[in-house]
Symmetry: C2
Subunit: 683 residues, 2 copies
């Protein structure tokens, strides 16, 4: 649909405009009057004029058309105003009013009523509980941010779930000379959510990068889908609040969002090419530089006039999995012609404490030919010339417009002007090496992003059964499902009594294992419901007697018992693997594979991936610790078999939305085969 | 010894003072003339007056006593000047001159000559290759830092191995209003090193905290010893450059320091209570606040007017292993009396976007009674009053002088003055939540530091043999050593031929293992030198034949062969453990224990500790992943036995400095016993 009237309206109504200068409705009107050149219609039940502008009682009283309504009245009245807006054929509304789902049950009801109305209405809504929205060109400021925090025009869009954080960031951005294309306080997302806003901004020419502060998502899969499309054209950078478990609780009581733990967000961001940042200061640097900086290489050149600065930067690069460019002999030769002999001509290139602007220039001219990201460190020393150095860097940038040259000017008083000079000329300039490194890491990941492909996944032709049971399935009833999707499981059989046992043991053979059969007891060993390593008839008899007595002792209600073959009859070397699935509230099935067995929880070596499993997921899995252990311990075909299992489990969970968790642990992995010996499905 | 004349000299000679204003010797003289009230004697071979001060040809020409000489002449002349200084009975010298070990072999020779002289001389030296030193009260600036970067008086000392970083930090500190007690550019440490400087600063009343930038250490154990003593009285904060492997190479070519990888430094810092920081910006915050802030609890209260700010802070706390205080019903009740009902009265306490200074004050009055660290988040919103809020916070601080109240003022223009107000009043104030959290984490670790005690270590009475061999010991020759220190190893015997084999197999029994005997072949299996699982005489004969043919095939030179018992005859469940030792260049033996077996390198689950092993090391080991796995898999006595082994290995390496590495892998750990089946000593 066409969102042009949201950001480029010809007229705006301020519903709840107020004569009281402390009121939100007054600040919004004031901000619009300062920033907006279209027609403004203040709406107020009790007055004919506000701030010198003619006011109306209702939107329906306005004769001219209205493109956008900004609503700031008590929550209870919002729905009827929306209905009036619809009758007035207003296309967009921003609901500033709070008092909805963030404030408890009665608010939630009001919000649900609005959602219900919006489902059949043509009007599209941002909010409620939004701080408003800002466009910088053509300009309007439909927020109640302090008018002193005037956001500048720029190429970064910012969408925030936290209004307070938004106003703090806008305030700081003004000081730091960061500009914005659009600023949207997304509020409770009763209608338009981040995912849709991403789509809107995808085609917005003014926007070169999109930054997000988010605490939760209603529809994770839609977010991933849209973010992938956006990532093909412009970077998305997200600060996710509520990453920690305790943080998630804080987020919940704050916005009413349903947040899950962090892992699923990391996986989703990775899949969609979204750059994830942890701190507000990182977010800032991306806001400033993400629209212009392109990083296509993970090998970096460092040029420094301070050895210590080079060391710290190198540490930071290494911690970020980035590398130093190895300089060829040719380059070293060229450098030796322009640098003093005490200089270090190898990367990090130390051009010494007495480096002149000229020496920076000559060095940069040589290394700029490598076409790799350059970090320039400047430390103010006795003979240093900060401004002149900044000018030379700027000159080199002009000659190499697409080359990423990131300056780090250490120090304070003496380098302030130089840093400002660089920023005003659109060059990335930072205070500390780790800032430059974080930017390179993020933009390199984005620069090498490609949308997920599913070659291996699509090759897998597993026929996935519909699991009709709504109850948990443990043991044989789970085995039955896994057998159908091709997972090799230990042979087993059900029996009810001694006579049936004597019959089934003939098929299973010795050594064998007895278990109680139950779909309610998840940990059978804990109630004495498992006997391992049964070697002969006599031991079998004892084992069954023992099981029966445990059943009596613990008053267990059972249908019967299970017998399994001993999966490792020849006592071969093996590694225990676990394969699992977990349905995430936001993003759907997560598939996990890791070291299994008794200490799986302690080892905690499990790689997760979001369903469906992409080729990139698989290649990352191959390079993970567990992937390498599997490669070392088993043949290629075993590895491929496990990948097949992962894909089948992924498909099983996708086809059966009632399955919450899947636990196949352990899978005994031998050099050239695997067999699962315990299996559970939680519905 | 008495260092008072170094920092409080009655007279200073500037050797190499210069009339050329661009020269280092001129800047030092100028800096001293501006900052120092004692007598200054410029020393210059060719002139009688510099900058209006009478100059002398040599220090010996000065009739009055001289306490400190600052030497800035070409490297070649430094030794003879030092000799003159000694004759003049000058107690301290700061050698600014570069051109020593940092610049290659000839420089290294000059430095070694100076070191040799200093061994028998009474004069004590900072440098060479130092930027100089600064005392702020009584004041002198004996550096060639730009005179515009005037360091203020404060309670933090700063010792730096990088001169350039030092000048950048001093420059920025001036802008950020961070003060210093002493600033020392420690240079190449030909005489006085960090460890000794720590001792000097331990008793310096002007110094409340010591900050370090370091790239390498000559004597790690001395550093630990002195740092422990200092940590009893004041915090040490270290930024270690050259943490990464590539960073370590950068550090080496820079200062000529011998650096090792990072782990040993982390262990050493942990042992000595040193707070380790990763970034310059963290170092800054500690410089500002470490002397005054005391953190005794890891439970934090958050008070915020921005829900999103509370969420991000909570995430940061969680990532730093810190907690939120759980507020009692009483506290919640009290809060509900002063806060609007929409506020979140649970920690993080959200006092809402329209929070007044009064509301901050009332909230802080309530939570200050809990006596826990408080993070106050302020985000500038439409009705917020930054300065007034800062004043209320400051008021609460005055009433609770020792209470840690850390303010985070988000935003820019609107909160600048408020943040400055807090800092000028000595209150911690930051721009981002993670800064406050990093400070709390560091100072909490310091606040709960206690010097290492060695109860368990001392109880162990293992008699440690002197290992005379200078060669590697593999197999039985290593087993002999480990048997002596009480480590249980698989039975084994040496044999040369079939006849001897037939004799020794009677003692060892079946199943058994054959190996080639060699102290040069570390990986015997790779050359086919190991046959496992030999069950009977026939298999034994085949195994021996196979070994012999491999020996011929690979032209191996051997003394003979080894036979071992099969350590797990009953095929019991077991976990493979590795126990190892590595001699670190700086800090001596590191003892490691982890998951062993074939995939030990891939699993990479090893806990290291520095010898000697302290009670704290052991308690951290118990709580580590590997510690928990051992606890889950084996009985208490097995855990204790492994600890005994670790201590014995630690003692063995300490008593035998030629041992470089020890590898006992695997140790098969059963529920109630352990046995090592492969063992190596690298000399």
């Amino acid at each position: 649909m066409d969102f042009s009237k949201l950001f480029n309206p010809e007229s705006i109504a301020v519903v709840g405009a107020s004569r009281d200068p402390g009121k939100v409705g007054s600040i919004i009107l004031k901000n619009l009057r300062i920033t907006y050149r279209g027609k403004i219609f203040p709406i107020n039940l009790n007055t004919d004029e506000i701030q010198g502008v003619k006011a109306y009682r209702k939107v329906l009283d306005v004769k001219e058309p209205i493109d956008l309504a900004v609503i700031s009245i008590p929550a209870e009245g919002v729905l009827s105003v929306l209905k009036e807006c619809e009758r007035k054929k207003i296309k967009f509304a921003i609901i500033i009013s709070a008092g909805f789902k963030e404030s408890g049950d009665s608010g939630l009801k009001l919000e649900n009523d609005i959602k219900k109305f919006l489902k059949t209405s043509k009007i599209r809504v941002i909010g409620p509980n939004s701080l408003g929205a800002i466009n910088t060109f053509p300009s309007y400021n439909a927020t109640f941010i302090d008018p002193n925090s005037k956001p500048m025009e720029g190429k970064t869009a910012f969408i925030s779930q936290s209004g307070a954080l938004l106003s703090a960031i806008v305030d700081d951005a003004t000081l730091e000379k960061i500009g914005f294309s659009k600023i949207i306080s997304i509020g409770n997302e009763a209608d338009i959510d981040e995912a849709e806003m991403l789509n809107v901004l995808l085609n917005d020419e003014k926007t070169g990068a999109i930054t997000l502060y988010m605490e939760g998502l209603e529809d994770g899969q839609k977010f991933i889908k849209n973010a992938i499309e956006v990532s093909k054209k412009k970077p998305i950078i997200a600060l996710k609040g509520g990453k920690s478990k305790i943080g998630a609780v804080a987020a919940e009581s704050h916005t009413g969002s349903l947040t899950d733990n962090n892992m699923s967000y990391d996986l989703a961001f990775n899949k969609a090419g979204v750059i994830s940042v942890d701190n507000i200061d990182d977010l800032f640097n991306f806001m400033r530089d993400a629209p212009t900086l392109k990083i296509k290489s993970d090998e970096v050149v460092i040029v420094t006039n301070a050895g210590g600065g080079g060391v710290i930067t190198t540490d930071a690069l290494s911690a970020a999995n980035l590398k130093l460019v190895k300089l060829s002999n040719n380059v070293v030769n060229e450098l030796s012609k322009v640098l003093p002999k005490e200089a270090n001509m190898h990367n990090p290139i130390d051009i010494l404490g007495d480096a002149t602007p000229e020496r920076y220039k000559e060095t940069l001219e040589i290394v700029s030919k490598l076409n790799k990201p350059i970090i320039v460190i400047f430390s103010p020393q006795e003979t240093s010339m900060p401004i002149e150095t900044a000018k030379e860097i700027s000159e080199i940038q002009l000659q190499n417009r697409d080359l990423p040259i990131l300056s780090v000017f250490l120090g304070g008083t003496r380098i302030e002007k130089a840093k400002r000079y660089l920023r005003e000329n659109g060059l990335p300039a930072y205070s500390y090496p780790n800032e430059a490194v974080d930017i390179i890491r993020g933009l390199y990941a984005y620069g090498t992003f490609s949308p997920p492909v599913y070659t291996t996944f699509d090759k897998n032709k597993t026929k996935v059964p519909k699991v009709s049971s709504k109850e948990n399935l443990f043991g044989l009833s789970a085995k039955e499902v896994f057998d159908k999707i091709g997972i090799k499981t230990a042979s087993g059989a059900f029996f009810k009594n001694e006579a049936e046992l004597q019959r089934v043991v003939k098929k299973i053979g010795y050594p064998c294992v007895l278990k109680i059969a139950s779909n309610t007891i998840a940990h059978k060993a804990e109630v004495g419901g498992v006997v391992l390593g049964i070697k002969n008839e006599e031991e079998l008899r004892k084992a069954f007697a023992s099981l029966k007595s445990k059943v009596n002792e613990n008053h267990l209600k059972l249908d019967g018992y299970e017998i399994y073959e001993h999966a490792n009859k020849e006592n071969k070397q093996n590694v225990e693997i676990l394969l699992g699935g977990h349905r995430d509230r936001q993003f759907g099935p997560l598939i996990g594979i890791g070291l299994g067995g008794e200490y799986a929880n302690l080892l905690n070596e499990t790689e997760f991936m979001l369903a469906p499993i992409s080729d990139k997921d698989l290649s990352e899995f191959r390079n993970s610790k567990i992937g390498k252990i599997i490669s070392a311990a088993a043949k290629h075909k075993v590895f491929d078999e496990l990948i097949d299992y992962m894909i089948s489990v992924s498909k099983l969970m996708t086809a059966n939305p009632q399955i919450k968790d899947i636990d196949i642990n352990p899978i005994m992995m031998f050099e050239d085969s695997v067999v699962a010996t315990d299996f559970k499905i939680y519905n």
